[in-house]
Point group: C2
Chain length 346, copies 2
DNA sequence: CTTGGAGATGCTATCGTTTGCATCATGGCT
DNA sequence: AGCCATGATGCAAACGATAGCATCTCCAAG
């Protein structure tokens, strides 16, 4: 297990090492006599031969390994994506080097350097920012890259994303149908595509339903975290403008919003409704169970990996795949309180 | 970025490639003239030289990469552990190849083969079973291995684990102090050390408090999942023996228990208390907030990685590190119902 | 009988890095 | 002045796999 090499197999099978290499590689197997190939394969199996990827990589410039940059593995959104990635890669004999970037640009650069050093064949980047210099450099150097979940301002990159505008539109339709008119938005970071796109979709929905855009009811989080959601909501309170619902940039922000409501003993959904985004694991078990937009995360990862493999092997042109979303209505949304009983005496 | 090699740096610095290699490696730097070294380093920086790990690996038999086998990334326990692993490894210039095994022995073998093929320097295994043939083979071949969170029946492996007996003891003390006497246990899979150890600790606690061991109140889950927890609890109901509290083998099982209670409109904690294990993220936000035993997951991963690096570099003898746990008392535990009002008219 | 083509396999350079050994210069010491 | 220890650097052989090219065998067609 720990070490038969091509030369060992060759000696044992009584053939030259080159023949063994050809016999063991399905793509070149046709070039060697069928019986010989069968014998070689049998010997290889018996000796427990496993190709040494380092040796192969040196010669072929392919490591059959890709690098995956994940902003935060503790966000349940990402393990699901990773799982999709793994499954797609495994079919092709690929493996992923997964690293957390913490949304830290410096750490991201270090990680990219470490991955390049390991000669990864391509990158899956779920941590892209709109203006992402590291991503820019990778593209400039012709490294295959697929961006997941988010996009970059740079149009030259392939991406797999969810239909964010549709998700926000569905959420807004739901809230409007319940009777909400004063809807706030705790937006994701402005340097991410998801933050911007969802904010735009939010404003578009306001227009569509003839609701007024109020800048006091929009606050932008500095990160996709629970703590940031809480801070933003406190900020919203301090502005003193009444609202009966909050559309959060993602589920963690939504949980933060709910924390802030609890702090102020404002019942959710009785006095304020909250909608999240992504439908992370456990969202339905929270208290209250979170109304949110489900994103097909596993598929997102799987499609992303497929796209990347395509780029590596077929130098395919860039493309963007958009996956459909579904609004999951649970307990965190309800009709607004009657006038006079609402927040700030609304 | 995508490609200066030693020979490029050598040419540019007007020196031999061997000298460059020595100058760039801190361990051999003393063997080259200080000024020359400084010049070489400067040239390397300017050209954006990054060592080609494949080339180095071929020569040194070290890939500076380790393999991490995780049973289920979607269990929030594991991303935390992984994060600790990453941080420890990064300090040493190492990277982890992370793979999910799904508790599937066949998949695990495939993954191990893929990782061995990539010449990983060692393994971190969080998915060990008590009788784990793949693990056995790795040890036999002298591959450095550290087992995380669980142990194996095989004593020859280093491990970092939580103080499971203490955790269960604390949980039992808490329940007994609340007045519970009929306590059930939904144990983890019998082929995992955590399943067995926690079960034993559960029974030891029964003895300690003079409570009767009742085999009808112990049921063993086939996996650490929510669904398994639910199935086990239904099973418990079918046996018809009354109980007022359940100690679950881990948090996912506990969530499954709570689901089964809800199914039967049995309020938790009013009529049945539930305790989990691990304190996964979001446990405190569940409904009800889960009383559970906190395991220092980040540290568990970090220590495990340190231990593994030690084994790789210093061939240290095997050792086991046990980390302390803390009982987190939340909303899923309460005094038992008064006699006559309890389950099955207890 | 010769020739040529096809199929099978051997030979060998190569990928980028490391490292034991050889070489060379310098300068101190006898 | 001659010698040697020392420090600095060059040289070249690996590590394991791949692939272009060469070689060889065999058989069919001319």
């Amino acid at each position: 297990m720990a070490g038969a090499k091509l030369v060992d197999v060759a000696r044992e099978a009584g053939v030259h090492v080159g023949t063994v290499s050809r016999a063991l590689n399905p793509a070149t197997r046709s070039r060697v006599n069928a019986e010989t190939a069968a014998r070689i394969i049998e010997v290889a199996r018996r000796l427990g031969y496993e190709v040494n990827i380092a040796g192969r990589a040196l010669r072929t410039q392919r490591t059959q390994t890709i690098g995956a940059l994940i902003p935060d593995l503790a966000n349940p959104l990402f393990p699901r994506i990773v799982r999709g990635v793994e499954d797609s890669l495994e079919k092709a004999g690929y493996t992923a080097l997964i690293t957390s970037t913490d949304n830290n640009a410096q750490r991201e650069r270090r990680m990219i350097a470490a991955l390049l050093s390991r000669q990864v064949d391509g990158f899956l980047i779920a941590s892209a920012r709109l203006e992402d210099q590291a991503l820019e450099e990778l593209l400039q150097n012709g490294v295959p890259v697929v961006v997941l979940n988010r996009t970059s301002a740079n149009a030259r990159t392939s991406a797999v994303i969810a239909d964010d505008p549709q998700g926000i539109a569905d959420a807004m339709a739901h809230l409007v149908a319940l009777g909400h008119e004063r809807i706030a938005h705790v937006a994701g970071p402005g340097d991410t595509s998801t933050g911007q796109v969802r904010l735009q979709a939010f404003e578009a929905a306001l227009d569509r339903y003839g609701l007024q855009r109020r800048s006091e009811l929009v606050v932008c989080a500095e990160a996709y975290t629970i703590a940031a959601g809480t801070r933003c909501t406190r900020d919203l309170f301090n502005r003193g403008k009444p609202f009966t619902a909050v559309v959060a940039g993602n589920d963690l922000l939504a949980l933060g919003v709910i924390d802030a409501l609890k702090e102020n003993r404002i019942p959710c959904p009785e006095r304020v409704s909250v909608v999240g985004f992504n439908d992370i694991d456990f969202a339905e078990r929270m208290s209250p169970a979170l109304t949110t937009v489900r994103v097909p995360t596993y598929e997102l990862g799987a499609r992303g990996a497929d796209l990347l493999l395509d780029m590596i092997y077929r130098e395919r042109e860039i493309s963007t795949v958009t996956l459909p979303v579904t609004l999951m209505i649970r307990e965190s949304t309800a009709p607004p309180p009657l006038p006079g009983t609402g927040l700030f005496g609304l």
